[in-house]
Each structure stands twice: as structure tokens, then as C-alpha cells.
Symmetry: C2
Subunit: 225 residues, 2 copies
């Protein structure tokens, strides 16, 4: 919504899942494994993946994001009445390491690469490294930062603190970019300059914080910094 460039932004930090990488690119495989149920499985899997990060964080029972993702898959299959033996589960989990970058990501990142770019994700290092590599994005980021370093998940301020700590910049000088409304608002509450990428025209969550700008796609970032 803010029309003017924000020249105080000295670096950009990106959420990974849903912002750079398409979490629903597993739906095609899921649909081959479970004909007609791929979309439903993908949606429910993602839904519980997020819920479990919040719940386990609140319970002080952190688990690695790969474990959380697999637990969410087990629930989603059981809930939809789909038999998901270990080999099938392994196939779907492996697909999560090869999520497609969202359309336009390479170009959008190239256009803002005059500032340092980083990832700050719930993904554990073992999940993020192959993801970035498979997408051909190695070398594009100065840092790939994982919530795993704090053993808690977004939107905990302890996760967001990793950005300033790693980049050596105050939060307000860092542009935080996420397509997840809760994440954009969590980052804003923490103190980042925040960009919410709302490509699908979603309704904003009602958490009480307003991003500095809402973009309809990642390419619009170029005009904002």
C-alpha cells in the first residue's frame, strides 16, 4: 500500500515456505498417489504443519521441522482415510525437499540483489539446504537462517531476533518478506519493515499488526526498497 520506495531498507529477509517455494507443489505427487485427493491432502498437511509448529512451541516441546512435517502428514492422511505406509510417506517427505520455487522468484530476487538477501525460515538446516540447491538459488543468499537455532517457531520474537543478530542490522533496517499473513504480522510486531506478499487476495489475519506494504507479487519489491 505504501507507494514510495523505502530507502532505509539495508537488507531483505525472506520467509521460505509459501513465499519463495510452493508448498503445494507436492499436490501433484499426492494426487498420483491418492487420485482425486491430492489437493485436499496438500491443504490439510500444510494446515497441520503450521498448527503443530505453534502448538509444540507453546508446549515447550520443540521438534525439528522435518519431524513436525511428517507428523502433520500422518495426521492429514489418517484424517482423510488414506493409507500412508512408510514408503509412501518417505516419497511425500522427499518431495518437500524439492518444492518448486514460486513463479517469478528468480527474477524478483535478481531485481533486489543490490542489498544482501537472506532466508529466515521454520525449516531446519537439513531441509533448507536441499530446497535452495534444488531451486538453483545457491549463492543468491548471504545467509540461510533457521528457527532451529532457537528451538522455537515463528511468530516467536526469539526467531525474528535471528535476523538482526545474523545480519548486524537493526530490525527496522531489514525488510522482512512473507506471503503468510501471520508471519508478516509477527515480523511487524517484532519491529521489521514488513512486506506482505498477498498474491491470492487473501483476507489479512486479525492479529493487530499492519505490514508496511502489501504486494500482489514478489516482483513489486523492486519498487519498495
Amino acid at each position: 500500500m505504501a507507494a514510495q520506495a523505502n530507502t532505509s531498507v539495508k537488507a531483505l529477509v525472506f520467509d521460505a515456505y509459501g513465499t519463495l517455494f510452493d508448498v503445494h507443489s507436492v499436490a501433484a505427487l499426492a494426487d498420483r498417489l491418492f487420485p482425486g485427493k491430492g489437493d485436499a491432502l496438500s491443504q490439510l498437511w500444510r494446515n497441520r504443519q503450521l498448527q503443530y509448529t505453534w502448538l509444540l512451541s507453546l508446549m515447550d516441546r520443540y521438534e525439528d521441522f522435518a519431524v513436525v512435517t511428517e507428523k502433520a502428514l500422518v495426521f492429514a492422511c489418517a484424517s482423510l482415510g488414506l493409507a500412508c505406509p512408510p514408503a509412501t510417506r518417505a516419497q511425500l517427505m522427499n518431495a518437500y525437499l524439492e518444492l518448486s520455487p514460486l513463479p517469478g522468484v528468480h527474477d524478483a530476487l535478481a531485481r533486489v540483489s543490490r542489498v544482501p538477501l537472506a532466508i529466515l525460515s521454520n525449516g531446519s538446516p537439513g531441509m533448507l539446504a536441499p530446497l535452495v540447491k534444488n531451486a538453483g538459488l545457491e549463492g543468491r543468499f548471504t545467509h540461510v537462517i533457521s528457527a532451529d537455532a532457537r528451538r522455537v517457531y515463528k511468530p516467536s520474537p526469539r526467531v525474528y531476533q535471528l535476523g538482526p543478530d545474523t545480519l548486524g542490522l537493526p530490525a527496522a533496517s531489514i525488510g522482512f518478506v512473507s506471503s503468510n499473513s501471520f508471519d508478516a504480522q509477527g515480523a511487524k510486531a517484532f519491529g521489521y519493515t514488513t512486506f506482505w506478499v498477498n498474491a491470492t487476495g487473501s483476507v489479512a489475519e486479525e492479529l493487530g499488526f499492519t505490514p508496511d506494504a502489501t504486494l500482489s507479487n514478489l516482483r513489486e519489491l523492486e519498487g519498495k526498497i
Copy 2:
């Protein structure tokens, strides 16, 4: 699943929303206000009500449960494209103070009343008092305990700690009763003897904790303590 009575249980602590009171009893009013959309609104409202308790807790941005409930209602209406002016919103919020007790609640509580009974709920005191009164359950509980005292929501162990602190009993001697799978598992992780009331045959969440017993209705409690 434990078939035998658990005679070590010296008190019972109940979740309120969904366990004693029917959160979807607002659907009828919602359907009068928004014909054909009552169920969808009620489901999405409850979904975001829970999500916002988790998110705001993780953000260290606690808000009173009435505020959270109203924020969730605003999101749900906007998301479903329903105009919800202040008077309509007030009507729906007021219905939340008059939720119906679930079928069989009075009888089930009467059958276990040889031990002290309490409520431990996310609801703020201002929401719980009219709820209990409207249901004719005043006097049934020795304590109505609110997460508000800790300014954080379930499944934080800081909320569950209110049970032992208030009742003067160790957690393992208290039977915690909830129909919400995440709540039953959070309570088990904390250390309560836990009863999950699964009246609808739901799939258990995959949070890593197994309740001591799963009941198909609240009346089965009588044989468990």
C-alpha cells in the same frame, strides 16, 4: 483406552469450550443472520479463535479471550464475504456468553461430583462467569480458573500449572478432561491424568502425547475415577 478406574484421581478439571459448552451453538443465530452460511461462519470463527490464541501467545502479545474471539469473528466474516456491522457483531459475541451446555453435561457432572470439580479455560473471567451461570452450573464447580491469570493460552504449561496451584494437588492426581485433542495432549505433556472426550470419532492430533483414556462421551468419566 485404559479400562480400569483410576482411583488416584482426587479432582477433575474440565476444559470449557467444546467440552462442557457447545461452541457451535452460535451457528443457529449465525444462520438467521447469514442464511445458509451459519455453519461455515461458526467453523471458521472457532478455527481462528484457536489459532489466534496460539499465535498471540507465541508473539508475547496476549489479548483477553473476548478480544481474541471478536478478532476471529471479524476475520471469519471478512473471509466469507459477510458484512458484519457492529450491532451484528455484538449479537454474535453475546451469543458466546450463552453457549448451550453439550448434551448430558449436567448428568455427567453429577455422577462424578464426589471429587472436587473445576474448570480450566482459555476464557477470561468475564466470559466464563455468565457462561456457567446461563447453563445453570453455578455451584457445581469449586473453582473456575482462567488462563487470563497467566496472560498466555493453552497448551502453555504455564496455564496448566494453574490447576495444581489452585487445587493444591499434584498434576498426576488431577484428571484433566477435554474434547480438544491438542488440549488433552498438552495437559498430558504437562503431567495431568488425562481424559480425551472424542464424541465425534476424530483422528487424534500428532503432538506426541497419548491421553490416559479416550472416552466417547462425558458420562463415561464416572467409570474412570
